[in-house]
């Protein structure tokens, strides 16, 4: 019996050795070139994951993202939902005993996902970012009065709500906001709008 267990464990160790014998560092190096994240010093303590408030909505845990990056598991990382549902709360980065910039690395992975045109599993989150930047590009500042309707339209939420007759709550909500004196502010372009347009050159859409 003991020998059998021992055998199984030996197999596992051998598998692990194989994984570590052929590390593909290209992905890690590529990401580290975008900024210094120090992912390679992670020792898998999982402190990041234990403090993360959004793990319930993630497919990979933050420590697993780091591990897979180190192992060069490009596809698994670029396709995961985790990087998009991350709320950028910085708890993981603040707590990592090794100074791994976890949240910042997730941003870099998102950028790479877009660069390589990998399908995004949480399109509505990307739509919100894009709508926001387009809005800033136009006015120089974010203007909520047009940002919210534009987002609802682009993300398809408006249509969905219209079809499913779910807009009762939203209408009541919008009315209450208006009634409380919020939203009454007219957009005004800033003088430096040209510079902003150049900075956000890639965010026409």
């Amino acid at each position: 019996m003991i020998t059998k267990d021992y055998k199984r464990r030996e197999n596992k160790i051998e598998q692990m050795h194989q994984a570590t014998l052929h590390p593909n560092e290209i992905f890690l190096q590529q990401l580290e070139a975008d900024g210094k994240f120090d992912a390679d010093v992670c020792f898998q303590c999982r402190k990041c994951t234990n403090g993360c408030p959004v793990t319930f909505a993630m497919d990979l845990y933050p420590d697993e993202v780091i591990r897979l990056v180190i192992l060069g598991q490009r596809e698994a990382v670029l396709k995961c939902r985790t990087i998009w549902v991350c709320a950028a709360c910085e708890t993981c980065t603040a707590r990592c005993p090794n100074g791994v910039k976890i949240a910042e690395l997730m941003d870099a992975i998102k950028e790479r996902t877009l660069l390589e045109r990998v399908p995004v599993p949480q399109p509505q989150i990307l739509t919100l970012h894009r709508t926001f930047l387009k809005n800033v590009r136009k006015w120089g500042r974010a203007f909520e009065g047009t940002l919210l309707p534009a987002y609802l339209l682009r993300s398809g939420q408006f249509l969905h709500k219209w079809r499913e007759r779910l807009w009762g709550w939203d209408i009541k909500f919008g009315w209450r906001l208006l009634y409380r004196g919020r939203f009454f502010h007219f957009p005004k372009k800033i003088r430096g709008k040209k510079e902003i347009r150049n900075i956000l050159i890639h965010h026409k859409k």
Binding site: V54, A57, T93, A94, S155, R182, H202
Partner: protein, 293 residues
């Protein structure tokens, strides 16, 4: 004489939905003799959207803000929005002040970057605390609150320069100075989900519901915040989150600046508070703190 002169970067949401926060800050600064001068022709810092999908743009947007600020004589800047605060500080750290930065952003080298103040930390300095306590006319006796700091004003510590980033004290000290009782609780810096409220409302409902639940469990009557995103998620969406949780929490959410205004009888408090969606008045009336003339 003005005791302080500061550059002021309000940020986009204080111009829009968070007018109450903006007006309360202007109001208390007037009453405390602090002169705020807006950064001329300022632009958006890019917020979560820019740092998520375009790091370069997020740094360049802030670079322009600093160039605009470099025209001002003030060397310190007050930033009420914790998101902007975090983005501004991040950019300072990411761009060591060298010739390249000077060429790219045309920020005069001898001046360098201004000192960036988070509002809660600014009003919790010894000097401000003394100035405020001299102004207090109506101590907020009997008001038991939890202070909710959120993420961006504190984390990561090398960006916020905060030593107590797991257990910050600034808001607690401010409300204690006003005569209210801050209750210790474990969720001071837990996340509210911020802009995910639009793209993944379920996540925000889960996170904020937990905050309400804990606030009620430790016996708080209200929550005090210093962030307009936290305020939006906790105040504006409270009814919806209560419906999701099938529970009534009924927690008024106050900005610390509104409480300073209330305790020192600054005019305009009624206007600020009446733009909240979760009615802030019943609690104040119950405690005898609300008797408009």
């Amino acid at each position: 004489m003005k005791i302080f002169e500061l550059a002021y970067y309000p940020g986009c949401s204080l111009q829009g939905t968070a007018k109450d926060y903006a007006e309360s800050i202007i109001g208390i600064c007037e009453s405390l003799d602090i002169q705020l001068t807006e950064v001329p022709d300022w632009n958006c810092c890019g917020a979560t959207a820019a740092h998520s999908i375009d790091r370069r743009a997020s740094l360049d947007l802030v670079g322009r803000i600093f160039r605009q600020a470099a025209q001002m004589p003030q060397s310190e800047m007050l930033v009420p929005c914790p998101m902007c605060f975090n983005r501004l500080k991040t950019a300072i750290l990411a761009q060591p002040f060298d010739q390249k930065t000077e060429d790219q952003y045309r920020i005069p080298m001898e001046k360098g970057f201004p000192k960036i103040w988070d509002t809660a930390n600014f009003f919790a300095t010894q000097q401000m605390m003394e100035t405020i306590s001299n102004k207090v006319q109506q101590p907020l006796k009997g008001l038991k609150v939890v202070c909710y700091y959120g993420c961006m004003a504190n984390r990561p510590s090398e960006i916020s320069d905060e030593t107590d980033f797991e257990n910050p004290q600034s808001l607690d000290r401010i409300v204690m100075n006003l005569g209210a009782t801050p209750i210790a609780w474990p969720f001071k810096t837990d996340c509210c989900g911020a802009t995910q409220v639009l793209s993944r409302p379920d996540i925000v409902s889960h996170l904020v519901g937990n905050l309400y639940d804990m606030a009620r469990r430790v016996g708080a009557q209200a929550v005090v915040v210093s962030c307009q995103m936290c305020h939006a998620n906790l105040d504006i969406y409270q009814e919806k989150i209560e419906a999701d949780w099938g529970r009534r929490f009924n927690l008024p959410i106050y900005y610390f600046s509104e409480l300073i205004g209330l305790a020192s009888n600054v005019s305009g408090v009624e206007k600020w508070l009446s733009s909240h969606l979760t009615d802030p008045f019943p609690l104040l009336r119950e405690l005898g703190l609300w008797n408009p003339t």
